[in-house]
Symmetry: C2
Subunit: 635 residues, 2 copies
């Protein structure tokens, strides 16, 4: 839901947050530490809401389900040298609010969620040295815990490590892969807490891929297991104490904390959410509307007031902040939606199509398909490797599997499985959305800028990145009707406005694209809507300086028809603009296609780990915005 | 142990196998099907031994532990339409012997294990349509089973799927990732059998990464679990019947079959193998010696005779076959050994070094390190993702982790984890052995020809592929002492003889290599010993035709000093030779470095899924042997 959310809060104007002096006052209150932690957690909820509203996106449901745990750990539990992090990472607003509230992070960072120089959408140690490790790719938490604890052991020390995990996250194989060694080596330093809010990205965990008896599983893996209400700090505190006593020093511990997604705001809790498998939980990510914001804030503020009153303290004073509305794109390309509609259409005539999903069926455009062909829709949960290997034998059995996830997870996480399928010379279609640098908010765990390299060496595969809705539809048709082997369809998710009109295309011609802007001395060569629009704007800017620079949009990755490209650009210098790392990106392919004809190529692209920020900030920081491109034309 | 094994059987001369008419006779014997299956399994053992001796390599321990199961399934259990495959794949000789013995595969294939046009080292449907899916990458078996069963369900049918897994294999996260959906969707069609022989690649499973209570784990995941002696066909048969009765139609079943690695040959069974964590089981892969062969054959033949006698039948007649001895390289480069020694040396002075292994510590050169620094050696089991993420936080904590596995598993399987580490800007050294096309025996699951592409887009990383032992040592020193960020060291494992003398090098200069053969009109540019030797021989061959073609050996992947290369080759045409797919290989990098100077580049490399065969056969089939290279110089 990253992509769809960035424009959701245009109406918002006036936000409120709990200022630092008020947070200090709450932390200093005498009385029951449990009650104090609950009050502090609600103050954090107000600030989480503020951060996400201001950013226009963020994961509110999981931030609210986990904040009681996170607040309590940061107030009462974590000692010097202790390590805490969330394995899932998308509850970063909860972490940030607790770090800010306990003055481990400068307060002004509160205003910078998902902004350049502020707080990245997922924790990143380069941007925020106060966090302990980069998270956002699921399932790595326990492995990372062992590394922290082991490093201390090597120094002859014992370091406590606290890891928060999601519950949907436990569908990832790496989680289970990481458990046995911790038990075998007696990593009693590790305490994992499962934020068991029962809802993953799309809907109920039990509808997506039920865990069954989770406690029995964890116990069978040799961990000491506890269970408690994770939104009740007293229950939590007691459960941890008991768990530690039972486990002793040499047994890793895991606490299944039953929480409520969106906890603390009645209408964000999934009280009415149907257990149908198709009902979507609406507050997984994205910012609430202005009206929802006002209602949520009022509810939390009232409860916080009551909590403070019970502690003998005055109500919290909130600081107002005026935030200018953000402009939404007017007539954007919505590639994922177009893709999803086209897939459903193709499925009408091609009965062999089966769609597989890894808990992102909203974000990968699968709603139309699932509605029309529920029996041909396979929900795999957050289990990309499993999904891909399963697709392999479906293909061997005469099915045409179409596999979906975000590009940043599908292509690296299931890479060996994708290759194994390719060695069987079957046809599997892989659709990777959320490709490229933008949206810039979520940060580098979600910015897929390696997928061309990861899929480029797949033997016999075709790689397509459409720039427009009709190209996305044509890509689906080509993949279903024409392709002989595997196809990777790379999709930018964020709705993106093109600053010019383009003729609709009915079909794609392998290796070829379109001349979008006339030129003479040089031509930008782009794939996808983001770089196409930036290159076009750069060409216009250069034209105003009297320079004739054109733009070619080329939806075929790697397989470039060099002859066609040479003709259409009349042998002029080419400047490739990769929405991807330079290494292994489309620039390499254009160079290889152009070199035999002696056509010079300059390659531009991402040359360092992507920053997190607004889309404009990110493009500018990587010198891939129109202005930068215009300036780099002579590089 | 793939690499070390290919030269092990030079002494062998006279082999014996059970011919087809004898196999038919045994299958047709009246009497107890259980006794018949045991006899047939022993006949298969003789043929497994023959195939592996003839090939000079193959996994004998697991073929023997599983053959009773495999034989019984193929004789008595599998019905029309049933699917069987082994998830681990390296027990392929057992599968082939059973397929041949039941005439599902042509008998003459018996003579072609690991030969071009014969039977690949791991099952491959392109080479052997009689097998059901490509295996050899671990942990994919249950996922694949769901695909087979689901495809049938989509057709309104019910298809039984039998999967054999290893026990070491269960350390892979994908196995656990694949279990819940099968339980949730009631895949009663699936029966998994764990060949629980207690020993993985290096040694005892319980020493490498103990499973604890395996049955409890599997049960907790919602599968119906059985257990039996897997080398006792009667016990096996009973256990499956009982398991099926308990499970009913809608519950997936898994049978933990307690087997003995090397079962059926007393000295191949690990009766004396110490449970020390460092004692290596010697019959995991590779061919036995001639003396061992003779002893093993005598033992099996005698037992088979007794079994047949009890069935009232005559002893088996074995067919002799004379096999010419294979030449071993005389003075080969042994990069992995050189690497391992250099790592241990560096660890003497650099105390931060910690080595991590994924059950390949013999094959990744780690014996010297482990012997000298047992406390700095971390055995992770077959858990590459877990190993890499753990290395990440070790690095964050001031350790210098050096991560080991085969290149074909490390770089695709843990790709997202490697990237996550890179985004933390820490230094982790990744050593991937078994890189490239050869050894050609194991087949494409083990021929790593995508790793440059998979590691090439890693921001801030250096990639090095040494061609000689001293370059391997220099690569380690550079990685430990000089590198600022992550390093990938790509190592050819097979001992490889260079047909010329090279001055030893003390250190590597980033981006640069060596002029190994003078030239004028063109220069081959290679990395690693295999392509270097082929290019050098091609240059000599061309010289005899009066053509002046040189050779440059360049150990730096991706980061090529184009100016240096242009000088040393005086701007002549470059012909890159990639021990890797063309796409995303070193050719792309050389092209990018040479293009700005207008130096023409022809790129040669692997252009289709690698074939399995002897090293010579494989190089020739891919037109990357010396003769082919000489002929392709003008491409």
């Amino acid at each position: 839901m990253e992509a769809a959310s960035v424009t959701a809060r245009q109406q918002t104007e006036r936000l409120r947050y709990v200022p630092l002096d008020e947070l200090r006052r709450m932390r200093a209150l005498d009385g029951d530490p449990i009650a104090r932690a609950h009050a502090f957690a609600d103050a954090c909820r107000i600030n989480i809401l503020y951060m996400i509203m201001r950013a226009g996106s963020g994961h509110i449901g999981t931030s609210f389900s986990s904040i009681d745990i996170v607040a309590w750990l940061h107030l009462e539990v974590l000692g010097p040298g202790d390590v805490y992090y969330s394995s899932k990472g998308h509850d970063a607003p909860a972490l940030y609010s607790a770090l800010i509230g306990t003055e481990r992070l400068p307060f002004e960072k509160l205003h910078g969620l998902r902004r350049l120089g502020g707080l990245p959408g997922h924790p990143d140690i380069a941007a925020t040295p106060e966090v302990n490790t980069n998270t956002g790719s699921l399932g790595m938490g326990i492995s990372k815990a062992k590394g922290f604890a082991r490093a201390a052991r090597l120094r002859g020390e014992r370091r406590r490590v606290w890891v928060l995990t999601g519950d949907g996250e436990l569908q990832e194989g790496q989680f289970w892969e990481s458990l046995p060694q911790a038990a075998n080596e007696g990593f009693g330093e590790i305490t994992a807490i499962v934020d068991h809010n029962k809802i993953q990205s799309d809907t109920w965990v039990e509808e997506v891929s039920d865990h069954g008896d989770l406690e029995a599983k964890l116990r069978a893996f040799g961990w000491e297991v506890g269970r408690c209400d994770g939104n009740d700090v007293r229950a939590l505190s007691t459960a941890v104490t008991e768990l530690e006593a039972r486990a002793g020093d040499h047994r890793p511990k895991i606490l299944v904390a039953d929480t409520v997604k969106g906890a603390g705001v009645s209408f964000m809790e999934p009280r009415e959410l149907a257990r149908s498998g198709t009902a979507l939980y609406p507050f997984h990510s994205g910012a609430p509307s202005a009206e929802q914001y006002a209602r949520a804030l009022a509810e939390i503020e009232a409860r916080l007031g009551e909590r403070l009153e019970r502690l003998g303290a005055a109500p919290a004073r909130l600081e107002p902040e005026q935030v200018p509305p953000r402009a939404a794109p007017r007539n954007p390309q919505r590639l994922v939606a177009a893709y999803g509609e086209a897939l459903a259409e193709e499925a009408e005539r091609e009965e062999r199509i089966v769609a597989l999903d890894a808990d992102l069926y909203l974000d990968t455009g699968l709603i139309p398909f699932r509605e029309r062909f529920p029996e041909r829709f396979v929900e795999c949960g957050i289990a990309e490797m499993d999904m891909v290997s399963q697709a392999g034998t479906l293909a061997l059995s005469g099915v045409l599997p179409v596999v979906h996830s975000f590009a940043c997870f599908l292509t690296p996480r299931a890479n060996e499985q994708i290759y194994n399928n390719a060695t069987e010379h079957t046809k599997v279609i892989y659709a990777g959305s959320l490709a490229g640098l933008v949206p810039g908010g979520p940060g580098h765990s979600h910015q897929s800028v390696r997928d061309i390299a990861l899929m480029g060496s797949l033997p016999g595969a075709a790689l397509i990145e459409p720039a427009t809705d009709d190209e996305a539809r044509a890509a689906v048709r080509w993949a279903v009707r024409e392709a002989a082997g595997p196809v990777y369809i790379r999709l930018v998710s964020v709705p993106w406005e093109l600053p010019f009109e383009l003729e609709p295309v009915a079909e794609l011609e392998p290796g070829r694209g379109r001349l979008v802007h006339e030129g003479a001395e040089a031509f930008f060569v782009t794939t996808g809507p983001v770089m196409l629009s930036q290159a076009w704007l750069a060409a216009e800017r250069l034209a105003s300086e009297g320079r004739e620079v054109g733009v070619v949009s080329l939806p075929w990755l790697r397989a470039v028809d060099g002859e066609w490209l040479g003709e259409v650009t009349r042998g002029a210098r080419l400047v490739t603009v990769d929405n991807h790392y330079l290494e292994g990106g489309q620039g390499d392919a254009v160079l290889a296609a152009a070199a035999p004809r002696g056509q010079p190529v300059t390659r531009l692209g991402v040359d360092r780990v992507p920053v997190s920020g607004t889309n404009d900030e990110v493009l500018r920081a990587h010198r891939l915005d129109a202005e930068s491109l215009a300036g780099r034309i002579d590089e």
